[in-house]
């Protein structure tokens, strides 16, 4: 059924039928399909400071969206709130993944439901070996069987090759003494193995050189394109979006999405900066 839907989706897309304005702020709902992610009126605060002031966003299966904005605009907050960071309080609004209420779930339950967050600052866990961690995480998210078979081993090998990670990487400790680039590649490797429904990539391009960005972009493409999963790329540069072309781009200013558009919006932001949109945020 999902495959069928995806095919229809693809046809519609290829035929150039934009889903603009059918329903929701941007991004469409074709054929009455259930959205992969649906955020409505999301307001959050941390330590009594309001950060998000009513976010609406809908991602359909197979879509890649980008959220762009300056530092402090609420981008990382959006990522953390979706994953369920306990420090953020959701004061209003709803979040649904495949029709399931995410706000009812703790972070590990969201992971098991298919949310993946590639962290801006991945945490080190000294003494926990990468190989062991990957196996346990795949078992936790996708079940014991998924962590045992040949498929796990081949995905792992393929992912490591693609990302240029050496075999010895598996016996290192999770993010302990990793370079910035190694941390980001390791996040993408985890994404490839966990096969999420929705991958959220928080500033995955920062700290990467141009080769690193290309490698990581290919990894995202390989994991999401042609599947019914989706991705939400959070960034303040256009760089990564040149390699992973998003279907939709949203601009976040002061905790609100002030503009949405196609991939051309990213290029426009690159040229004009954010100032011309400031007024819309008031």
């Amino acid at each position: 059924m999902n495959l069928f839907r995806t095919l229809i989706e693809k046809r519609i897309w290829e035929a150039g039928i934009d889903k603009l304005g059918i329903k929701g702020q941007f991004g469409g709902e074709a054929m009455g399909e259930v959205a992969l992610l649906e955020i409505n009126g999301l307001r959050t605060s941390i330590d009594d400071t309001d950060i998000l002031h009513g976010i609406n966003l809908k991602i359909m299966p197979g879509e890649i969206h980008a959220v762009m904005g300056r530092n402090g605009s609420g981008k990382s907050t959006t990522a953390n709130v979706l994953m369920g960071h306990p420090d953020y309080e959701v004061t209003d609004g709803t979040i649904y993944l495949d029709g399931k209420d995410l706000l009812e779930m703790e972070a590990h339950e969201r992971a098991r439901s298919g949310i993946f967050l590639s962290f801006q600052y991945p945490q080190a866990v000294p003494g926990l070996q990468v190989g062991n961690f990957l196996r346990r995480s795949v078992a936790a998210v996708r079940g014991e069987e998924a962590a045992k078979g040949a498929e796990f081993r081949s995905t792992l090998k393929e992912g490591m090759n693609r990302l240029g990670l050496d075999r010895s990487f598996l016996s290192r400790y999770v993010n302990d003494g990793f370079s910035g680039g190694e941390k980001k590649r390791f996040e993408i490797l985890q994404m490839m193995l966990l096969k999420p429904r929705l991958a959220i990539l928080d500033e995955t391009d920062s700290g990467l050189d141009i080769d690193g960005i290309r490698t990581v972009a290919e990894g995202i493409d390989a994991a999401i394109r042609g599947t019914t999963s989706g991705a939400l790329i959070i960034t303040h540069y256009n760089r990564i979006l040149e390699h992973v072309k998003p279907d939709y781009v949203h601009v976040l200013i002061n905790g609100r999405i002030v503009k949405s558009g196609g991939p051309e919006l990213a290029s426009e932001l690159e040229e004009r900066g954010y100032d011309w949109l400031e007024g819309d945020a008031e």
Partner: protein
């Protein structure tokens, strides 16, 4: 001595190894007569009786240590301790008397029922006797002597007399005096020159109930160029109604020998675990203590190495886990008496639910010892605000050519670390266990595989219910 015990003394001559025949249990409390009775019951040579008696008087006169957790030490009531319990008593305990939480822990560690019962002191594990004998036969072929300490004294009195108390005299501290006065059980091992015992010698302690005791005494002698890895204890909780455990372990590594002594102990939380462990390393010999302390009410344990010969090397790797109401006061002592000696101390402690972990270490380098190297690292991990960690490092360096390094760190589990792991599908408890086991990993990787696996499982169990 009770009448019952007296009649059992008669039985002894018939057969000490018949565990079902008699029960000998001395009344509570200690006196010179009790010490003499223990020695008589074991039919010991006169010199051992005399050492025991001297040690008893030293114990009586020696004040409590004036350092460490004096508050908890003062709570020990020596009159309420039973100083001699013939091991066959253990078989008379009832499995139903073992607290349910401990029985559950056995189950969840995946330890088979028979072994559970043995470990909790309910029964001797006859099924494993065959295993024990085959290990012993292999060792015997190599000329290795491997006996319980009582048998060692009977069969190899000369060697025992030469080395017993040579590393840890009864005058060393109050608890070594107590142990010398009333010791029972423990292991006696002699590895002949040039013999390498390939397998870690470990099954012994897991299957031989005789060795489990409150006051065990262990003596290991590795002759020139030999090597042995000895493993003591078990990760499963050692349920004990006895509240005082005070062992003495002496290691002698003759020139070029290598002794590694690994311990994982998990006492029930009513137990005082006050142990003296020390080894002497001669020229180019190595002694390694791998020491894991979980549970107990108060543990005071500082495995020590005297580097007596040139080029000798010492390592002490220890971990301590203190939970609610527990204080692990552990560390290491190294004395560099000879030139070109090297030592390495790695101490890791985790405190949780108000538990307290203390690292207490002492390293000395004598003025005559040239070109020595010392490396000390101690790390503490606190799991909540109520827990406590202290570090008491002492270094006395008498030779300016010594190279000494000391690093200490205290860290806390951060919310961001937990969130990161939870975002990969792990519950908060699982995430905490991954962090804790990672922290212990430098220790765990030194253990034989089955102990490492059990220790990881145990820490995962300890983390359960810890998230409020």
């Amino acid at each position: 001595m009770t009448d019952e015990a007296r009649s059992a003394v008669g039985d002894y001559k018939v057969g000490w190894h018949d565990p079902e025949n008699a029960t000998i249990r001395f009344d509570f409390g200690l006196s010179e007569q009790v010490v003499r009775d223990i020695s008589a019951l074991k039919n010991e040579p006169e010199w051992m009786t005399e050492i025991r008696v001297k040690a008893f008087h030293h114990f009586e006169n020696r004040p409590m240590p004036t350092w460490g957790n004096m508050h908890l030490l003062e709570e020990i009531d020596f009159d309420k301790v039973c100083y001699y319990l013939r091991s066959s008593d253990a078989t008379e305990k009832n499995w139903d008397d073992v607290p349910e939480d401990i029985r559950n822990t056995f189950d969840r560690l995946g330890i088979p029922e028979a072994e559970q019962k043995w470990l909790s002191g309910v029964t001797a594990q006859y099924e494993s006797e065959a295993v024990y004998h085959s290990i012993r036969e292999d060792l015997e072929e190599q000329g290795v002597i491997f006996l319980d300490m009582d048998s060692g004294l009977r069969e190899y009195e000369g060697i025992v007399k030469e080395y017993f108390g040579s590393v840890i005299p009864y005058t060393d501290n109050k608890f070594s005096a107590l142990n010398t006065a009333v010791w029972s059980g423990g292991s006696f091992i002699y590895v002949p020159s040039g013999v390498h015992v390939e397998m870690p010698v470990q099954a012994y302690f897991r299957i031989n109930a005789k060795n489990m005791g409150q006051f065990e005494r262990t003596l290991i002698i590795a002759d020139e160029g030999s090597s042995i890895h000895y493993v003591e204890g078990c990760t499963a909780p050692t349920y004990s109604t006895d509240s005082l455990h005070s062992a003495v372990v002496e290691l002698i590594a003759l020139p070029g020998a290598h002794i590694r002594y690994s311990t994982v102990q998990n006492w029930s939380n009513n137990v005082y675990n006050l142990v003296t462990k020390r080894g002497v390393a001669y020229d180019n010999a190595t002694i390694e203590w791998v020491d894991g302390n979980i549970g107990s009410k108060l543990t005071m344990k500082y495995p020590a190495v005297i580097l007596k010969g040139e080029g000798a090397h010492a390592e002490v790797i220890s971990v301590a886990y203190s939970g609610e109401g527990q204080h692990q006061d552990a560390g290491a002592k190294i004395h560099h008496l000879a030139s070109n000696t090297t030592s390495k101390i790695l101490s890791k402690s985790i405190s949780k639910d108000g538990g307290r972990g203390s690292y207490r270490g002492m390293v000395t380098v004598s003025p005559k010892a040239e070109n020595c190297k010392v490396n000390v690292v101690c790390d503490a991990l606190l799991l909540d605000e109520d827990s406590r960690s202290d570090t008491y490092p002492t270094m006395e360096v008498g030779n300016s050519g010594a190279r000494c390094e000391h690093e200490a760190s205290v860290s806390k589990v951060s919310d961001d670390q937990l969130f990161y792991l939870m975002s990969r599908g792990h519950t908060e408890e699982e995430a905490l266990a991954l962090i804790v086991n990672g922290f212990f990993e430098p220790f765990t990787r030194e253990l034989p595989m089955e102990y490492a696996v059990e220790l990881n499982q145990l820490m995962a169990l300890e983390m359960e219910g810890s998230i409020g």
